[in-house]
């Protein structure tokens, strides 16, 4: 196996199963779309949709990502990527060109760009400090490659041929319906003379804006080809050298370098995506990941997609699951940040399994084998019965596939049923989940769920103590008490028992 920054060795990896629903409910699809946007040429989605349950691989990638966060390393890699993009563009362009010496000229440019890029990259990598095994392997490979006699001779030859061509200078006389080509004989630039003549009117602070859009499309027409033909007859030698060069170096790209070019974009895409969020002061970290220990904690985590769409101040949330704790029941007012909290838990687990930094200040995570979601689905409403039926069917299929290592996230499940039904069903489902001993986040208005077992942790979305209509979006570990919120709202509007009694005139 050749050096890779994504995989340490060729062994088969256990992937994390993420249901289609979970992918949608946690906004992972949108997250990935935004992340790979502008990098379509690298086809990165397969990497982003393959979370792995393997401590070694995750740590291997985390190290690479950490290295790439170093501005020095990042700059070097970006320069490399930019150069390689140009190489590919030149080579793709060749196929669309019509004239031989035009094509050969661009082939030479592609080789030059490639050689420069590789050389600069290998030299720069020697200069920067690397910690990750992944990048060190790439560096080792590149240094060897750049020093090989094949590469050296490719580069030298290309430079020599280019040098010969760029010394050519000719004159073109254009008359109506006719053009002529002759050697250059030191003709002077008229524009310079004109500028000097009018300089007395010049004003320091004013510069004319005359940038013409003359980005002449690359490629040649028959007229330019004819001109080039005349030029070749005036100066034949450099073109003969070009002929030889093209013949000798057809397939010059290296496979390992091409593979690295693609893989490293996986990291860069994500780091670029979170960069503006970090600038807003939002924390990201490399979580400690385990398959053996089932304790978890997240400090100052947040819903990555929520912050991406919001501009204001962002509220972060923390949780921990110690010992036998497996279930988080989240209660509190609507629009209070409960769903965002649930999404955050899912996103953090998913991103951790990609080996990328997660949206939190600090995190220690259990590596789950699957992520399932059961969110309320409004689009499926036909009648109450069919909706509840659909809810239950979905729940059933989730439970059937769960292992003690899975994570399941429920959001207002069974809310279409009557309160009594909903509570009965929920308690039963919860009992099953507790028996499986998997990880659960359950957003609900049913306080009772939070008091079922020692394994259950109750968390509540808070409102402002001064004004109960103001959400704080803070979700904290707290005993669930749905009525406290309702009472304080009533007081604000003068609708408590005493208030209403006093206001009603006798």
């Amino acid at each position: 196996m050749f050096p890779s920054v994504l995989f340490k060795d060729a062994k088969a990896l256990e992937s994390v199963k993420v249901s289609e629903e979970a992918f949608e409910d946690l906004f992972l699809g949108r997250l990935i779309d935004l992340t790979v946007k502008g990098r379509e040429r690298y086809d990165l989605k397969p990497f982003f949709t393959m979370p792995v349950r393997d401590e070694e691989t995750i740590v291997y990638r985390q190290e690479v990502a950490r290295d790439l966060e170093d501005p020095e390393v990042r700059k070097v890699v970006l320069e490399f990527s930019k150069g390689m993009v140009a190489v590919h563009q030149y080579l793709q362009m060749l196929e669309r060109l019509d004239y031989e010496y035009n094509k050969k000229g661009w082939f030479l440019e592609a080789v030059l760009e490639y050689c420069r890029t590789v050389k600069v990259f290998s030299e720069s990598l020697e200069r920067v400090g690397l910690r990750s095994e992944g990048l060190k392997r790439i560096r080792e490979y590149l240094i060897g490659y750049a020093r090989s006699p094949e590469f050296s001779s490719l580069f030298e030859e290309a430079l020599r041929v280019k040098e010969g061509l760029s010394r050519v200078r000719y004159c073109l006389i254009v008359e109506p319906g006719k053009f002529s080509v002759k050697p250059y004989k030191g003709e002077k630039d008229y524009a310079v003379e004109i500028e000097a003549f009018f300089s007395k009117f010049k004003e320091e602070d004013r510069i004319g804006e005359y940038s013409f859009d003359l980005v002449k499309g690359i490629g040649m027409s028959h007229v330019e080809a004819k001109i080039l033909d005349f030029v070749r007859r005036l100066y034949p030698e450099p073109f003969e050298e070009l002929d030889t060069f093209c013949e000798n170096h057809r397939g010059f790209l290296d496979e390992v370098i091409l593979n690295f070019e693609r893989e490293v974009q996986f990291f860069l895409a994500y780091l670029d995506f979170i960069e503006p969020l970090r600038e807003r002061g939002l924390p990201f970290c490399y979580p400690e990941v385990r398959t053996s220990v089932r304790d978890e904690f997240v400090e100052d985590g947040f819903d990555l997609m929520l912050v991406h769409s919001l501009t204001g101040k962002i509220v972060t949330n923390s949780y921990r699951l110690d010992g036998i704790e497996r279930v988080i029941v989240v209660t509190g007012p609507n629009q209070g940040g409960k769903t965002s909290f649930a999404r955050m838990v899912g996103q953090i687990h998913y991103l951790a399994c990609l080996g990328l930094p997660v949206p939190a200040r600090r995190a220690k995570l259990f590596l789950v084998d699957a992520v399932h979601t059961h969110f309320e689905r409004e689009e499926h409403v036909q009648n109450v019965r069919s909706k509840l039926e659909d809810d239950l069917l979905r729940m059933k299929s989730i439970i059937d596939s769960l292992t003690p290592n899975s994570l399941v996230i429920l959001n207002e499940a069974f809310s279409s049923a009557t309160l009594r039904d909903s509570l009965d069903i929920s308690l039963r489902v919860l009992e099953k989940l507790l028996k499986i001993d998997c990880f659960v986040v359950w957003v609900t208005f049913l306080d009772e769920l939070s008091r079922v077992s020692e394994k259950v942790v109750s968390m509540v979305a808070l409102v402002s103590p001064q004004d109960p209509t103001v959400r704080t979006f803070k979700v904290v570990r707290k005993r669930a008490d749905g009525r406290a919120y309702a009472l304080s709202l009533a007081r604000k509007y003068g609708l408590t028992y005493e208030e209403v009694r006093r206001r009603i005139r006798r």
Binding site: L97, N102, K103, K104, G105, W106, E109, L165, S166, V168, R169, Y170, C171, L172, I173, V174, E175, P176, G177, K178, F179, S180, V181, K182, P183, Y184, K185, E187, K188, D189, Y190, A191, E193, I194, E195, F197, F198, K200, F201, E203, R206, I207, G208, Y210, F212, L214, K216, I218, G219, M220, S221, H222, V223, E224, I227, L228, F230, V231, R233, L234
Partner: protein, 500 residues
Amino acid sequence: MKVYLMYPDRDFNLKKELPPHAMDLVKDLGFDVIVQHMSRGDEFLRNVAMNVLFYPEKDTSVIRYRQEIVKDCLEHPDVVRRLYQIPISIKESKRKRWWGVFGWKTPNNVLNGARNALEAMLGGLKELRRIADENLEKFRSRGFKRFFEMLQEELDDEYLSKMGEHLENLKFQKGVLLSVRLGKGNEGEDHTLSKPRGKNWFQRIFEREKVFSYKLHPRDEIGSKVLESIVNLGLKDIATNVAIAADHVESFFNTLQLELAFYVACLNLVESLRAIGISFSFPEVFPTNEERIVFRNLKDIALALSQGTNVVGNELEAERKRLFVIMGANRGGKTTFLRSVGQAQIMAQAGMFVAAESSSLSICEGVFTHFRRREDANLKKGKFEEELERVSKMLDHVSAGSLILFNESFSSTNEHEGSEVAHQIVKALIDSGVRVFYVTHMFDLARRFLDDEKVVFLVAERKENGERTFKVKEGKPTETSFGLDLYREIFEEKEEVFPS
């Protein structure tokens, strides 16, 4: 090639926006009328006049420099108006012939447009030279002398004829010669254009050098388009340079128009003032710290111009005074006096004349007004609160050495409150080096300044028989109100002389 008619050593630039309080000055001091007479409905003149007036010049040497030029203008109005006509004619011809470019902004199009523009402006430059030759000896101001001398020196005959030659060359009637290098993909780059060398230039080349030629098929339209685009590459630099040159020459004319506009506006105003017999003079200006203010027969020209007749003037002579409290008879000419002071200060600092027999004054950092606005009763806030808000906003822009004209400020509340607030504000202002004129009925306010030696008290005069002279004279305030006068006037004498 600098015009330098507004400043001895720099260009005059029109600011896009007037200072925030400018509209208050227009409204409160009657500058709408004055500027109307300066501009005669011309938007450009109006804009320039407002800019010069409401960004007061603080350098006395600049003010004197402009005064000299205004004097020259008064002596030779026809020459000045003829000069002003040159940039205007050039603009007209630009509008008619449209030098600009239709469709694509190619170098060829830009080059032709700019070349035509320069050809038209060459005519203007020649006319300027002629006027300079004729008038250098007749003008006395440093500004005009320098300007005419510069024209003679920079636009000598050789330069003007050489310019004609270049403009002829730039037509490229025979074709072009470009030198080119091989760039990426062996495609041409660095196209540079050579200077045309006489009629048989190409002929001579074809006879002497190794040349490959190719004639396009007459129906090869793509081919000729390509050739055209290559020529455009070669014309890029020269088109840029010619266009920049045209821009620069045009901007010279624009500057000329801009800097003359102020003086033309002055000429317009002088004609209006002379028509109603208002005399004017050039003020002596002093630095701010001399705190001098002297007027002989100073008039409110906004009032005079809008009435179309001459009006009563006032005198004032004060040195090292900060506060001028004006009290007295209602409709006795207090507001008129206040306006004439503001007008004179602003016009003097623009470098203009003032409507007084003589005057001398220290320049100030800025002129501000706070007139009671009876009309804009703000319903959301109380009137008093609205006044305080306006004063507070104004003070954001006031600095030491400024002049503030208050007219009946804080009279929207009772005198006790009003004078307390006003006193604290005014006292703070004068102690900070701001010059204040305050028209008020509030005796309680005036009383608090009675012993201050930096304060001058002025009273709208009323004769023994109760007749008002519309003159404001020095005198300590008395606590009688003259409201009864007004009552009488309205209910007994129906003649209305002054607009309110």
